[in-house]
Symmetry: C2
Subunit: 409 residues, 2 copies
């Protein structure tokens, strides 16, 4: 394939700058505000939480994506989600966008806003506005600046998550960069907590939106940490066209190549979110193969990685396949439990654990060894059709409970 991973992140595509600064939104001594800025106007595509309760920045961004012809900056804060803040929450977004627009010589309708953190708390606007000033002063197109931004948007994430790839579009090298965050409250129904993709590709807004909407179904929408769909889920793609490639149009090989690059970015970032789920010790992947339909395959795979009992068993390195079978069974998809197979796989080692309605007579030792790896794969062969899907989650640990029992303190 023509995709090449490169060192970098959101500042890798031409014309993108970023910064991450300490603004003291909720905690001192940590970077907690980030900016993404493009030298040229960008077309923007976005997907947002399906939660009826939408945070103010989600409503703000939906408006920008739907009504503004372009955007040129994103301001993100962590610590406070600006959700459950009523009409005041929208005023916070507006003031933040106005401040950034004034400093960057834009209109407020060209500024996107992102927030993550505690629901119900109010933003300290003096600190937010001072933070915007710092961000604008600090922004740079260096790789380090992108890394700073990716660190500034973390909440309970243990590592920052950034990525960059290049892809050849009709002889022109186009670059995509990304940063994402999210660890708890992750069960995206449109996309993840916060994900940003920058690219210098030339592509029309509606083409980009269609591509993104199609892709999240098999990437961000297939991960779960705890089954709770956040009020703030936002995934944005900003394309500033500075690579000067021939415009990417649907139905061309260039479209397919760019989509493959976007898919690689989204899948990689989504898996990183799942693997870095709150308290997680392992990334759990469930691949359902030979299902009747793609929809069934997705439903089955997602049911397994969402099951608390399956997740706790993997934390215990316990080859309790009954829980996987049980989770497939209550997913809502029909199948014959007497005619299907289950496998565990890790590090290239794969064992059959369930077949013909019975334990397949595997070695518990081997299974425990596989389940002790940091990336564990469950394969369910449904023996029914030829549709497949993969979902990603993590194990359920003491630390998940600890983190969430006193998140606000």
């Amino acid at each position: 394939m023509s995709i090449k991973t490169i060192q970098g992140g959101i500042t890798s595509p031409k014309g993108f700058q970023a910064a991450g600064v300490e603004a003291g939104v909720k905690y001192e001594n940590r970077k907690d505000m980030a900016i993404i800025y493009s030298e040229q106007p960008c077309v923007v595509a976005g997907t947002f939480t399906s939660n009826v309760v939408k945070a103010a920045p989600v409503k703000w961004d939906m408006r920008v994506v739907n009504e503004s012809p372009f955007a040129q900056a994103v301001i993100v804060n962590t610590g406070i989600a600006n959700a459950g803040t009523g009409k005041t929450g929208m005023e916070y977004c507006e003031k933040t966008a106005e401040k950034a627009a004034e400093l960057l010589k834009l209109e407020k309708e060209n500024v996107l806003i992102g927030s993550t953190g505690v629901i119900g708390a109010h933003l300290p606007m003096d600190r937010i506005l001072a933070g915007v000033e710092k961000l604008v002063a600090a922004k740079s197109d260096s790789t380090d600046a992108g890394t700073d931004a990716s660190k500034a948007i973390m909440t309970t994430d243990t590592v920052n998550k950034e990525l960059a790839v290049t892809v050849d579009i009709a002889g022109v090298t186009v670059t995509l960069g990304a940063m994402s965050k999210g660890s708890g409250m992750i069960h995206p129904n449109m996309c993840t907590m916060l994900g940003y993709v920058t690219t210098d590709a030339v592509i029309a807004k509606d083409t980009l939106q269609k591509m993104l909407s199609e892709d999240v179904v098999d990437t961000y929408n297939m991960i779960s940490v705890d089954g709770d769909t956040s009020t703030n889920d936002t995934l944005l793609v900003l394309a500033n066209g500075m690579a000067k490639n021939p415009e990417i149009k649907e139905g061309t090989p260039e479209y397919d190549a760019f989509k493959e690059a976007l898919h690689y970015i989204n899948e990689t970032q989504a898996k990183r979110l799942a693997g870095d789920g709150e308290g997680a010790k392992a990334l759990v992947e469930c691949e359902v193969i030979n299902a009747v339909s793609k929809a069934d395959a997705r439903t089955l795979a997602k049911s397994v990685i969402t099951s608390s009992l399956t997740k706790a068993a993997i934390f215990g390195h316990d080859a309790n396949w009954g829980r996987i079978l049980c989770a497939l069974g209550y997913s809502g998809a029909k199948f014959d439990p007497e005619d299907m197979e289950l496998y565990y796989e890790a590090n290239g080692k794969k064992i059959l654990i369930y077949k013909n309605g019975l334990d397949a007579g595997y070695s518990e030792e081997e299974a425990t060894e596989i389940l002790s790896q940091p990336e564990v794969r469950i394969i369910a062969d449904m023996h029914m059709g030829n549709a497949s899907a993969t979902a990603w989650g993590c194990d359920l640990t003491y630390d998940y409970v600890k983190i969430n029992a006193d998140y606000r303190s």
Copy 2:
């Protein structure tokens, strides 16, 4: 109301006997098999798991309930679920039923079977059959015998759950008794793990089935410990007619009175299961009021008590109402988050925590005190219609993870 709670359980209604014995199915030195026996044939109503993967005893009981005109005995074991055991699993049920039928001078089609425990393991049939002999020899109509049976069906339950009530039916005292178990893998979609109700009422089978099917929707189907719907969920009601009341018919005050008694039994037992959820320190009740429809009210209430983040916050006595709002928001039901209210309540003390899209300015100390009680109530007033529903769950604790990380060891 005409319902009176009395000391007792499944042996309280006329003509019912029970026993609980040590059979060594999986563990030594604990009661692990139980019998319910009626001196007279019983009509039986039942509801069962909606999981595609159904344990052998569930399939066996469905056949008895659907095809046999009556039943007269129930044999239950704990330790091994007899699920994921293929065709052999049905042979285990058949042999167990045959043995009981032979000793009790019945047909095997009149014997119901229940199993709970690990999925995938096979029943040690020599011990099971020896256990059936012990049960038949030990059975008695004493209150203690009912208690023994209710203890013998426990798995990770910390307390046994039995109950008995009387109700006046046209001047005749009719008695209902019950025992239930279930702690993990509780998210019944038809009914709970294992629940048994005995009664000496005269009632036709189809009347009893209709009443039961209607009632589980608002009782057992409204509880969740961990969102995992078991392969073994079974709720059976056995009515032997020995109270000699005029037959209970639909559309009469007697029907309503008996239904109220059954509802009381089911709701009480369901709440006990939720409050004794694996590792639970608190029973969490969510009452949704003024919703558009009953279906919406149920969906909203169940979403709250199923949310891992809400459950962890309650374990931490953290008044993090944002998680409740979030869980209502992703439930699938529509509402206006700017026009609704949230309350916490415990021990008769009730505080408003969220109103008009904002924190209601409650005292964190007061909220923490309420959330530290063993029974915590969340009330969501949707301001939309006049439908209401209640769901029951529990907090998410370290012990839940511990119990399920090494359940099989």
